[in-house]
């Protein structure tokens, strides 16, 4: 067995820490800073979800339950500190969320992990619905519709850190994010992590080796609950309010989207997914009402054409890059990329025109689309958009052949050399 702590890994994680520390120096606006904080939380959430889906093969639709409960417990702990009934530095407050998530992972996991595969997916959904419905019932703990408000500065200033300014909260999130990433990566290297993979691939054989698949799933669920809870605790500190939506089914669906778009087959896949989804959600929602539709279609596209997610797309290029043939793909990629852009432009214009036509309250239905004014009430604009869309589709299909030919050539060459 190779050593777990190698010099390469130490250098890598140190570089990651430096990267996190330097990010706010590059992105100085307050908008970017709160987005970075959001991304850190999303990364923990998506990675903890992938402990279930990617590593143990458990397709959960209720992961936000542990995230949300962690957030609620953390918010209450903060309020208790404020009332002087409890003492814990705010820096370690996410641990409260983590322990809460772990506890509920242990309890609910006992019920859910007795089954795997599709039944597990349904049961996790049922549990999520149950918790979400209970949250609106027990208004004392969950605060009903309004949620639970809290104050992250209750600890006062410790060595000048009061967690009042967002930059301090960012460093708190970044620190915990790094600790969680390292922790979750370390788990993949343990015998438990390996057994989780075995249980995912072939539970019967795992049983023959002498491991109880149910117990392995349960343990992984508990650990995933812990990390999700830490993420939830950070969310409570970051937003200073926790509502029942935090543990709802939509939030759980978000974890699925982030992990799958990023790629569940690689440890770092969900990190890409979390960053991308957070970026899309806050950037797109500023510009268009239809962003959820684009987002859903993007997800469907990933499933249908690249089920390994973005991580897999990147890893496909690794042997080509190592063989120094990446630039042979460039002409095809730039051609089909620009054709795809035309196609997308036509498609977006189409959807936006339908949306603006349906918006009944506006008297003037014309709107600006990338600097061009489109008027959905006039047929000429529909014809124009259709022409752009059709031309884009035709060009895109034509140019994908160029890409495919380049790939076939490279693959053949690599096969001759024995690389692939």
């Amino acid at each position: 067995m190779s050593p777990v702590v190698t010099r390469r890994r130490i250098i890598f994680w140190a570089a990651a820490a430096l990267f996190f520390a330097l990010l706010p120096l590059v992105f100085t606006q307050s908008f970017a800073l709160s987005m970075l904080s959001q991304m850190g939380i999303a990364i923990i959430f998506a990675l903890s979800y992938n402990m279930l889906l990617g590593q143990t093969g458990l397709l959960s639709f209720g992961h936000a339950v542990y995230f949300g409960l962690g957030a609620f417990f953390c918010a209450h702990a903060l309020n208790l500190v404020g009332a002087g009934k409890f003492w814990l530095p705010v820096t370690f407050m996410p641990l409260v969320g983590g322990l809460a998530g772990m506890f509920f992972g242990l309890v609910l996991g006992f019920v859910t992990t007795r089954r795997a595969g599709t039944p597990f997916a349904m049961i996790s959904l049922g549990i999520a619905e149950m918790v979400a419905a209970s949250a609106l019932m027990f208004t004392g703990f969950f605060g009903g519709e309004g949620g639970i408000a809290t104050d992250r500065t209750v600890g006062g200033a410790v060595m000048g850190i009061s967690y009042g300014p967002q930059i301090q909260v960012y460093y708190l999130i970044a620190g915990w994010c790094l600790v969680c990433i390292i922790g979750m990566f370390a788990i993949t290297q343990t015998p438990l992590g390996r057994m989780a993979n075995a249980v995912r691939d072939n539970p019967e054989r795992a049983k023959f080796v002498g491991y109880n698949p149910t117990r392995v799933r349960w343990l992984m669920m508990t650990l995933a609950g812990f990390f999700a809870g830490v993420g939830g605790g950070l969310a409570a500190i970051n937003y200073e309010i926790v509502t029942a939506e935090t543990l709802g089914v939509m939030a759980s669906g978000n974890a699925v989207l982030m992990a799958f778009i990023g790629g569940i087959g690689h440890f770092w896949g969900p990190i890409i997914g979390a960053v991308l989804v957070t970026l899309l959600q806050s950037a797109l929602s500023n510009y268009t009402q239809a962003w959820l539709l684009y987002f859903g279609l993007f997800f469907l596209g990933i499933i249908m054409f690249s089920p390994g997610g973005i991580a897999n797309l990147i890893m496909l290029h690794k042997p080509v890059w190592q063989a120094g043939r990446l630039k042979r793909l460039l002409p095809g990629y730039s051609l089909s990329g620009s054709a795809g852009l035309v196609m997308l432009l036509g498609f977006f214009a189409m959807i936006e025109m339908i949306y603006h036509l349906e918006a009944k309250e506006a008297a003037n239905k014309a709107f600006s689309f990338f600097g061009v004014t489109l008027d959905p009430t006039r047929p000429s604009f529909w014809i124009g958009t259709l022409v752009v869309l059709a031309a884009g589709v035709a060009m895109f299909y034509g140019t994908t052949r160029v890409v495919k030919r380049a790939w076939d050539d490279i693959t053949a060459e690599l096969q001759v050399k024995g690389v692939v």
Binding site: L59, T118, A121, V249, A290, L293, F299, P307, Y355, E358
Partner: protein, 315 residues
Amino acid sequence: MEFFLITLLNSLSYGLLLFMLSSGLTLIFSMMGVLNFAHASFYMLGAYFAYQTGLYVGFWPALFLAPLLVGALGALTERYGLRTVHKFGHVAELLFTFGLAYVIEEIVHLIWGRAPVDYRIPAGLDFTLFTLYTTQYPAYRGFMMLVSVGMLAALYLGLTRTRIGLVIQASLTHPDMVEALGHNVPRVFMLVFAGGAALAGLAGVIGGNAFITEPGMAVAVGSIVFVVVVFGGMGSLTGAFIASLIIGALQTFSVALDYSMLDLFGKLGLSVSPHSSWHGLWSITISQTAPVMPYLLMVLMLIVRPRGLMGTRES
């Protein structure tokens, strides 16, 4: 007594509606191993299609047109969506339907807006069927039950008495053998998927105007249908039927009961001070717990009997 009988009738019509949804879901699941997350979305589309076509041709033609349209959409989904994803495994198939549900909801937003649409009970059915004690029972509820039972009988006869039904049944257990005998199993899959979608669509047509036609209706009913299928046992039609009636009754009755533990304590001569920390818990009424009940029942069933009421296999 009056309350009990009326609520029983209501729960029966709701339970039968649930069965129209869960029967398609469980058939698709036992055949293809695909849990269709978009099933409730087809239910929603049924309601919206009936509303839209009803504007032009009236309710009665829409009753037939809307399920056919939804069925055609189902066939397209299977042929061009699921069959492409099939080679990537069950998780990808499941997530495909999950993403599809998402997209369908957004398309409904896009076309019909976020507010509920005015999909009404047809004037021909808007009268009182009978009066029980003092409560008037609407004819449309009776019509819903009639359609559901008719569909149930047609489904049963279709599956057991027709040639295609026998092929479907054989494909459930021995797809390779059926293929070897010269039947086109992928086409049978497509047919079953389309049929399940059409059933969900029909449920939407008759349920949409009885309840409410809005973009959130798929999410609201979707998870309940999952509970029904898990509770009844995955892949069992009989189990789905019994579970539909039980869950339907549970939901309808618990919504109507406005008692809490405090009332019980009051009957026993006990009183809880409003300052006690448990007062909040005891004052929750049964109707408030209604949304949680089905899920609680499902969790209990999973602990006691993991394969469900009538399920034959563990997973």
